[in-house]
């Protein structure tokens, strides 16, 4: 095994190593044949990954694609309302992506580089918006910032109206900066501070070092984050439903065609239309970053790391204030939810009661299902994400680009459509999975694979290929290299993918509504039910229990695994 702390290699590399292999399909086929001859284990792994993605991503999408008829597609394109909606959708993708990535980067930078006080606690904050089902956090948001909101009306005396694109912008930034944070933090952590030290001892100012050394090194992470956030914004329907007011986006329209009019064909047409901008974004990011990716590599590892150079005090404290403001914002939202759990009428009567809690305590079975399914899914998702990212970005397997794209697609599909596609695809033998817990776990794995995969890919792009080359020179097979060399170096991104998938899966909603079956109900579905039926106190109580249980599960994982579970290490 290679010792961590191998010398840093910031040399600009000419070879486009960071990208999957190009070339025509015939060249790829020839390469595939060579691969079978050269390394059977690797070829089998590739086959397994391709089969899994084909079965659980491509096949359901094909089933969804053949649902609409020609007239539905025609109506989707010709209805003026939906053309405006498409424009709105793209506008939000641009706005919310930029703001989420900026916030996510600053937050990650403050925690990993600026060493702000309490950094470890601040890593918990971005997890919160991921766990809570949107309906409950949406009501908390409205109670705080609505027309009669605690902050806007009671505290500031404002007569504001949050409903519209500006309110949506704020809500999406809050919802999606955690994705940017996760993607960027992993990369920032793996950049060896020695580089910045070297830059500064050569006479560069802190600002120049930041601009010329750190930013270029972090660019694969930033690019991956931007792509992920943009695609998640495309598929977001929870936030627009609650706070967009009269402003419409495509994902909500697709959701409403299904849930409001039970028009599956139209819903599928509108939902699938989101794949077009998603694929464009994919190639755009590739095109923009193609030049820089792979030019800068730096080996992760801890051995010879120096401390990052201390930042000027005012920078450090401004970053601290920034993180604190975000933490307070989140804190207020969750305080409102916890308040809702212990008061008789949320937003009206704030006297203390335990009634809500006793009502939902009978649902421990559902809580256990949530944790059980999410835990299984998280493990599977992190493994699959890491293995596929390794195959595509390091081994450079044939057809890597196609794999790359397919692993991204589920992020753009509104969950409702994904859930229906799963029902359509897996309702009959030989693959009859409806009615089982397995289909719930699978939907979780593939819904959250894109983020896990991108996090792993961004970190892998940081590793100098020379390490694996030396391993290969000493006779290690590709899989051996993966297990002994690569895996120890990307522990952070593996943990991040695991944690992300876990907390998202615990709060999962839109797809799972179609997949829960008698005996396999999860808590998030019940929270939606209770909220929708007007039992806000019970919904808040169940949400509080769910968040608490999920955080306890993570704490337990940290306790048992220690440093191998690298998520909370700063």
């Amino acid at each position: 095994m290679i010792q961590p702390g191998t010398p840093v290699d910031p040399v600009a590399r000419a070879a486009p190593r960071g990208r999957p292999r190009g070339g025509g399909p015939f060249a790829e086929l020839r390469a595939l044949r060579r691969l079978w001859r050269r390394d059977v284990v690797l070829a089998l792994t590739l086959t397994a990954v391709v089969a899994t993605l084909g079965l659980f991503v491509v096949y359901p999408l094909v089933m969804a694609t053949i649902t609409p008829r020609a007239e539905d597609w025609l109506r989707a394109v010709t209805t003026p309302r939906w053309r405006v909606t498409m424009g709105n959708t793209l506008m939000m993708a641009a706005l919310s992506t930029v703001s989420s990535v900026v916030v996510g980067f600053l937050y990650a930078y403050a925690i990993t580089r600026a060493r702000i006080p309490g950094a470890r606690w601040f890593t918990l904050v971005p997890l919160l918006p991921l766990i809570t089902p949107p309906f409950v956090s949406g009501l908390a948001f409205i109670l705080l910032f609505g027309r009669r909101g605690i902050v806007t009306y009671e505290l500031l005396g404002l007569n504001t109206n949050i409903y519209g694109w500006h309110g949506l912008w704020l809500a999406q930034t809050v919802s999606f900066f955690p994705i940017a944070f996760l993607a960027i933090a992993g990369v920032l952590r793996s950049i060896n501070p020695n580089l910045e030290r070297a830059s500064e001892s050569l006479g560069a100012s802190a600002w120049t070092t930041f601009r010329k050394v750190l930013l270029p090194l972090a660019s694969p992470g930033i690019g991956a984050a931007a792509l992920l956030v943009a695609i998640a914004v495309l598929g977001d329907f929870g936030n627009p439903m609650l706070i967009a007011g009269r402003f419409r986006v495509l994902a909500t329209e697709a959701y409403l065609q299904i849930s409001g009019w039970a028009d599956m064909r139209m819903g599928a047409a509108l939902g699938l239309a989101l794949l077009v901008p998603a694929v464009v974004f994919f190639f755009l990011q590739r095109h923009l970053q193609g030049a820089s990716v792979g030019r800068f590599v730096t080996v992760g590892g801890r051995g010879s790391r120096l401390e990052a150079a201390p930042l000027p005090g005012w920078v450090r404290w401004s970053l601290f204030a920034f993180c604190l403001a975000i933490a307070l914002f989140m804190g207020a939202k969750y305080a409102v939810i916890v308040l809702g759990a212990f008061t008789p009428v949320w937003g009206i009567d704030y006297s203390f009661t335990l009634d809500n809690l006793t009502h939902v305590l009978v649902r421990t079975g559902e809580l256990w299902n949530s944790l059980r399914f999410a835990g299984t899914a998280a493990l599977a998702c992190a493994v699959l994400a890491t293995v596929s990212a390794f195959l595509v970005y390091r081994v450079k397997v044939p057809f890597g680009r196609a794999l790359d794209l397919v692993s991204l697609l589920p992020a753009a599909i509104p969950g409702t459509l994904l859930g229906i596609a799963y029902v359509l695809a897996f309702n009959t033998p030989p693959l009859q999975l409806t009615g089982t817990g397995t289909i719930i776990v699978l939907s979780m794995v593939f819904s959250y694979l894109p983020v896990g995969y991108r996090i792993a890919a961004a970190t892998l792009q940081q590793l100098a290929p020379s390490i694996e080359e030396s391993a290969a020179d000493m006779g290690a097979s590709a899989m051996r290299t993966f297990v002994d060399v690569v895996l120890p170096l990307i522990g952070t991104s593996f943990s991040a993918a695991l944690v992300y998938c876990f907390v998202k899966a615990v709060g999962t909603l839109s797809a799972v509504v179609f997949l829960i079956s008698h005996g396999n109900v999860v808590a998030s579905a019940s929270i939606l039910n209770l909220a929708e039926q007007g039992y806000w106190g019970w919904a808040a109580a169940l949400a509080t229990l769910l968040i608490t249980a999920a955080l306890l599960a993570l704490a337990l994982a940290k306790l048992v695994l220690g440093r191998r579970f690298a998520f909370f290490d700063v």
Binding site: R81, L139, I142, L143, G146, R147, R148, Y163, M241, L242, G245, R246, T252, L256, I258, S259, G260, W261, A262, M264, G267, P344, V345, G347, I348, D349, T416, I420, V423, L424, N427, T428, Q432, T434, G435, V513, F514, I516, S517, H518, G519, V521, A525, N529, A531, E532, Q533, G534, Y535, W536, G537
Partner: protein, 351 residues
């Protein structure tokens, strides 16, 4: 206790034990009865229900059914559109027997998709023609009607001693500008009912004049049907148009809301239907008969405060009687055929 644990049998919690004992007697009876009737029925059950009505309300009906027949029932609850989409998606291999509750337009959508079984029950001679499908694909058992929810606290603060609105026309008062909330008809089939109620009540041209006058008073058209009661409850808006039963729930939850059912309101029959090809077709028919009966509807009305269709049900004080809701003669066929035209014009009205 120790002794038991020693032998490896887990001690039964007293409640579980009692429940088991209570559940066993009718179960044994039912098994004996069914066994004597038809051998095929013996292997069946539990009955699988998709519920659009609230969990507790569905439980009131299903537990009454289990008590009466000994047949076990398992229920999953989701919103109307989601249940309908799910039933249609699962048509290749149906996973449930019954769709319980939800306005008739949802059941019509499933009928048109060919995923329901026709069953003309004899148990509901009291149903009017509009309250059941002529071929028996769905049968109504309660009434869903539109009403107005008022946050009286905010109303008094803003308008002093002004009388509360009582008719649909009262909502046109320019003083209410921006203070009304109602669900977006484009987003929801049940909100579309409001447009059609006005168009059918006043006639096409006068109906549109009404809607065009109303539009500027509406501050927001949220997309979820549960939003208007909630927004009126928390005081985000003073007035809201929503279904009577969902406003009742908001009131029951303790929100300061007053409910008004204007004369000439629109409504549909909340219905039950049988999923074609479900695992227990015979039990499903038995269940539909049961839902039409007085026992099921009494239990349902007592807990949900909805308006039952079976005339023999004794109304609880807080529920609104069928006779006291003055409904227009609503034509669902006409509403269905005008959908595209109506929504296009509605959209143009808003812009």
């Amino acid at each position: 206790m120790n002794d038991r644990a020693h032998h490896g049998a887990p001690p039964l919690a007293p409640r579980t034990a009692a429940r088991r004992a209570r559940g066993l007697a009718p179960l044994a009876l039912a098994v004996a009865l069914l066994g004597s009737l038809a051998p095929s029925a013996l292997a069946q059950g539990p009955l699988l229900v998709y519920s659009i009505i609230q969990e507790q309300d569905a439980a009131a009906i299903t537990s009454a059914f289990t008590a009466a027949t000994g047949i076990q029932v398992q229920t999953i609850r989701a919103s109307g559109g989601e249940i309908v989409a799910r039933v249609i998606a699962e048509a290749s291999s149906p996973r449930a027997d019954i769709v319980l509750g939800g306005a008739s337009n949802l059941h019509i959508a499933m009928t048109n998709a060919g995923v329901l079984d026709a069953y003309l029950t004899d148990a509901a001679p009291y149903l009017d023609p509009g309250q059941r499908d002529a071929d028996g694909y769905w049968s109504g058992f309660y009434l869903t009607a539109l009403g107005i929810g008022i946050n009286e606290e905010r109303f008094r603060r803003q308008y002093g001693d002004k009388p509360l609105p009582e008719t649909w026309e009262d909502l046109l008062d320019p003083e209410y500008a921006g203070e009304i909330v109602m669900t977006d008809p484009i987003a929801s089939s049940t909100a579309y009912l409001f447009l059609q109620t006005q168009l059918q009540r006043l006639g096409w041209d006068d109906g549109w004049a009404y809607l065009e006058a109303l539009a500027p008073n509406v501050g927001q058209f949220p997309t979820s049907g549960s939003a208007p009661p909630r927004m009126v409850g928390t005081g985000e808006y003073i007035l809201g148009v929503a279904f009577v039963h969902s406003l009742s729930t908001t009131i029951e939850q303790g929100f300061p809301v007053t409910l008004v059912v204007p004369p000439g309101t629109g409504g549909e029959a909340g219905s039950v239907s049988i999923i074609a090809g479900g695992p227990n077709p015979d039990l499903a028919r038995q269940f539909v008969d049961f839902v039409m009966g007085v026992d099921a509807q009494q239990a349902f009305t007592d807990i949900s405060l909805t308006t039952p269709l079976n005339p023999d049900v004794v109304l609880p004080a807080a529920a609104i009687a069928r006779a006291s809701i003055e409904m227009i003669d609503f034509d669902p066929e006409l509403a269905g055929s005008q959908r595209e035209e109506t929504l296009r014009r509605w959209e143009a009205t808003l812009d």
